[in-house]
């Protein structure tokens, strides 16, 4: 089934609700299933073996319901990107193709919209990849993490280096764009093996690479191994060196860094992720997924019947009482899959209100993650120029061409910058 961008819907249909200033939005779907849990993972996902057989189907239905709810409010009238992440969406197999097609029918996808599906080497097959591509998926993001067997074992991944390499090449062969995730600072990882991983990543032909230093999250098996001394604690200095090495190797291969963790060939930057760093509204569907919209869109949703109906909402409901000075709202749905299925069209579980000023500061913080940085006038409107000047003195940010951006040192010490500005 081909997912052709739907005909633009007549806007008048939603005139009563439509928040005039919404503009283009991004759509995210969180698929909370994986084959097995990785040792470092604290994302919301369940190993597939623990999931009841009907749950994926109910989940897909709930996502559709939630999407319809937002579409009815006019929030999905101009969708620039769809990102199906997780978890591991490809655990849904062929069902995934149908779900994506449904979403494309519900939302008003802009012609040429970016549609990304996350996948892992252990759930990827050439057949599934081809079918997804044929049904409109333009981009695959693969959790490779490393091309070194020892790293993969420390990380508790379900695949070896060969499988990862094969999977990436198969995905590249579909003609879709391909992105890889890599991890540095893994206990035991050497600079040489990291370099080899980077080179193998480049050799696959993938046009996008993300580089994350490993963080030890509480209550994960990795945390336990570190606490008991079975594994050494990740060394932040080693990770720093590896991040700089990634910058060099990837730049040489034509993948330019465009964000703290993201590298891409010209034209292959992730449209969806760029949205997060430039203040574009997004709607997240699925357990623990977050959405961010201007307050008008949130008020429209809050006025909807299903947010008010306690039988739809079930547990953990936040009674929506919007502060007068709110300009932007971020909210998150139930983290539990079963709870999400029950409450998909209900009020969110957690809500965060930002004033206009807070929203501007957040735009600066997130914008500074980008290589291009933020426009000087945005910084001025956000009232953070003094902070930036202080940071400039510490050589963490610099000014160029009417914009503020991180320095090479600032790339590694981003938190110092964000703490000053936020």
């Amino acid at each position: 089934m081909m997912c052709a961008p739907a005909e633009p819907r007549p806007l008048a249909q939603h005139a009563s609700h439509h928040p005039a200033t919404l503009g283009p939005v991004s759509l995210y779907v969180h698929v909370p299933f994986c084959v097995l849990k990785c040792a470092y993972c604290d994302f919301h996902s369940q190993p597939f073996c623990d999931v009841s057989p009907e749950e994926p189907e109910h989940f897909a239905w709930a996502v559709g319901e939630a999407a319809r709810h937002w579409a009815a409010l006019g929030v999905l009238d101009d969708v620039l990107s769809l990102y199906v992440g997780g978890g591991t969406p490809t655990t849904l197999g062929d069902g995934l193709t149908g779900s994506i097609a449904d979403l494309c029918a519900i939302a008003n996808m802009r012609p040429g919209a970016e549609i990304t599906v996350e996948t892992n080497p252990d759930t990827s097959s050439p057949e599934l990849a081809a079918r997804l591509h044929a049904s409109g998926v333009t981009r695959f993001s693969v959790g490779v993490q490393s091309f070194d067997g020892a790293d993969l074992r420390v990380l508790g991944r379900c695949h070896d280096a060969q499988a990862a390499e094969r999977a990436v090449r198969e995905l590249v062969a579909t003609g879709a764009r391909v992105a890889l995730d890599l991890m540095c600072g893994v206990p035991g990882q050497s600079l040489a093996s990291w370099q080899a991983t980077l080179e193998r990543a480049v050799a696959t032909g993938a046009g996008h690479v993300s580089v994350y230093p490993l963080t030890v999250e509480e209550a994960t098996p990795l945390a336990h191994h570190v606490a008991t001394g079975a594994l050494p604690e990740p060394d932040p200095d080693a990770a720093a060196e590896m991040m700089e090495r990634a910058d060099e190797v990837l730049a040489d291969a034509g993948l330019a860094r465009y964000e703290i963790a993201s590298y891409a060939r010209e034209g292959e930057q992730c449209v969806h992720n760029l949205g997060y760093w430039t203040g574009r509204p997004y709607i997240g569907l699925g357990p623990s997924a977050s959405s961010m919209v201007p307050v008008a869109a949130f008020r429209a949703a809050a006025a909807s019947e299903s947010w008010a109906d306690p039988s739809v909402v079930g547990v953990g409901r936040v009674i929506v009482d919007v502060p007068a000075d709110a300009a932007r709202v971020r909210f998150t749905h139930a983290a539990d899959t079963v709870a999400f299925i029950r409450t998909a069209t209900g009020a969110p579980e957690e809500v965060e209100y930002l004033t206009a000023e807070e929203a501007l500061r957040e735009d600066v913080v997130l914008g500074l993650r980008l290589a291009e940085g933020v426009a000087a006038d945005l910084a001025e409107r956000a009232g953070v120029v003094d902070a930036l000047l202080r940071l400039e003195q510490q050589a963490l940010v610099e000014r160029a061409g009417g914009r503020w951006r991180l320095t090479r040192r600032g790339w590694l010490l981003g938190n110092e910058v964000f703490a000053e500005v936020w």
Partner: protein, 600 residues
Amino acid sequence: MSDPTHIRNFSIIAHIDHGKSTLADRILELTHTVADRDMVEQVLDSMDIERERGITIKAQAVRVLYEAADGETYQLNLIDTPGHVDFTYEVSRSLQACEGVILVVDAAQGVEAQTVANAMMAMNADLEIIPLINKIDLPAAEPERVRHEIEEGLAIPADEAVLASGKTGEGVREVLEAVIRRVPHPVGDAAAPLKALIFDSYFDAYRGVVALIRVIDGTVGANMKVRMMATDVVTDVEEVGVRRPANTPVEELTVGEVGYLITGLKDPALVKVGDTVTLARHGATEPLPGYREVKPMVYTGLYPIDGDQYPDLRDALDKLQLNDPALVYDPESSHALGFGFRVGFLGLLHMEVIKERLEREFDLDLLATAPSVEYHVYTTKGEKVIVHSPQDMPEPGHIERVEEPYLKATVLVPPDYVGQVMELAEGRRSTFKDMQYLSATTVEMHYETPLSELIMDFFDQLKSRTRGYASLDYEYIGYRPSNLVKLDILLAGKPVDALSFIVHREKAYARGKVLTEKLREIIPRQMFEVPIQAAIGGKILARETVRAKRKDVLAKCYGGDITRKRKLIEKQKKGKKRMKSVGNVDVPQDAFMAILKVDE
């Protein structure tokens, strides 16, 4: 009911955790002093900090009425006392209000160091001692061995020792009968002018100073005019009463009775513990002996983290000092920490307790510097300088000699651990004096030890090296010359006064090295490299470096992460605020105490 022959005043004394407070609970129950529904464990430990730590810090007086086997009803005034060595003076004060004691000894632990120390105090005060072997319900109880230890080690006849359990209540009636039979009733002259000893006091926000008194001669009641003999103030009595354990007013207190006295005086300094209360007119001419002044043993700098709290800290110290005469303080200032106080304590537990009470009861945020003892420095000009803080140490060139306080330390330990104790003591500049067997299972060892060594986690080390079996008691013996030097700690090249300390010259190198290492672990990485140095008068002994922070960035930041990451950064910011900024180095509070945790 105030016939002195029907009054018995006694304290419950013991080594810590042998069950004094629990026994007091049982006595309160047996005598229906506290209604069943109000009964909690260790009911007399009323401070939050006592309840949390399960220890008694303040002695507590309570009156109970007991119907004895002879059919008569007796008024018992019992005082539950603390067992920790830091609070020995609380015990000694309580004893002066009594004619007898119940000496509680744990049937499994046997005689320990504070058992000996407290028993000695009771003997010196000529009090009747009733030994009670407690916790006989424990499977590990060995009452016969303990009976033997009491007789051999303390020279107290124990054939009549009461076997009891504060848990089951067994033996409680029996010990009260023994109190009635053996503890002498108070004697005094009801017709003589009032003489009452203030053995404790506290501040009540509504009533002012409340004094706890023991009447020796005469009678005191509301509306009388009384005089505090030492401070020579005259005031009206607003109320007298007894503690059951809540304050309960009575018309008067007479010979032998224990109770409280409220005068409306609001100034703590006017109502001194140890003073004698008498009548304003035709009063007594000779005060009671009073108390030997307690002298602080250790001194530490206490600084408000927020400089604006300095006046609040002073008020809080004033209030706490009221019923804690062992607490002394003087203003002090530090380049690194600003304005604070140099505060003297009886020991480290006392220090911890006071700091915690200041923080909780007065809502202060405090930073404490490493404790120091009182050094006597004799200068080349022939002056004697009292030094409570390393900052006050004269220049090395001006020092003729330094003297430091020594203690006689008594350690009680099973014979198997004698070697471990010796090893520890040797490393702490201690001189072995003698040892003797109290019983086949307990050895008493005596050392002469500099106090400054004892306050460096000596007790923790002793406990851990003897698997918890050793107990320690000490008393001050005097000042002795020592080869002491001031060790400076420099952060980023600048000496930090609040981190300097005084140490024996031979240990300076080792301590400096371990301390710089410890500080390297404690001080977080900053945006620039921070050298940490230990030096004596400009000569560097040890150096460590906190490397500059290279990476601190949240690499992953997509939709759902944003809120979480912002919270994380806010948390980091808060953590930074709680640190002290010294120069431009952020120093966590622990750093100022690091020297205590250094065992080379």
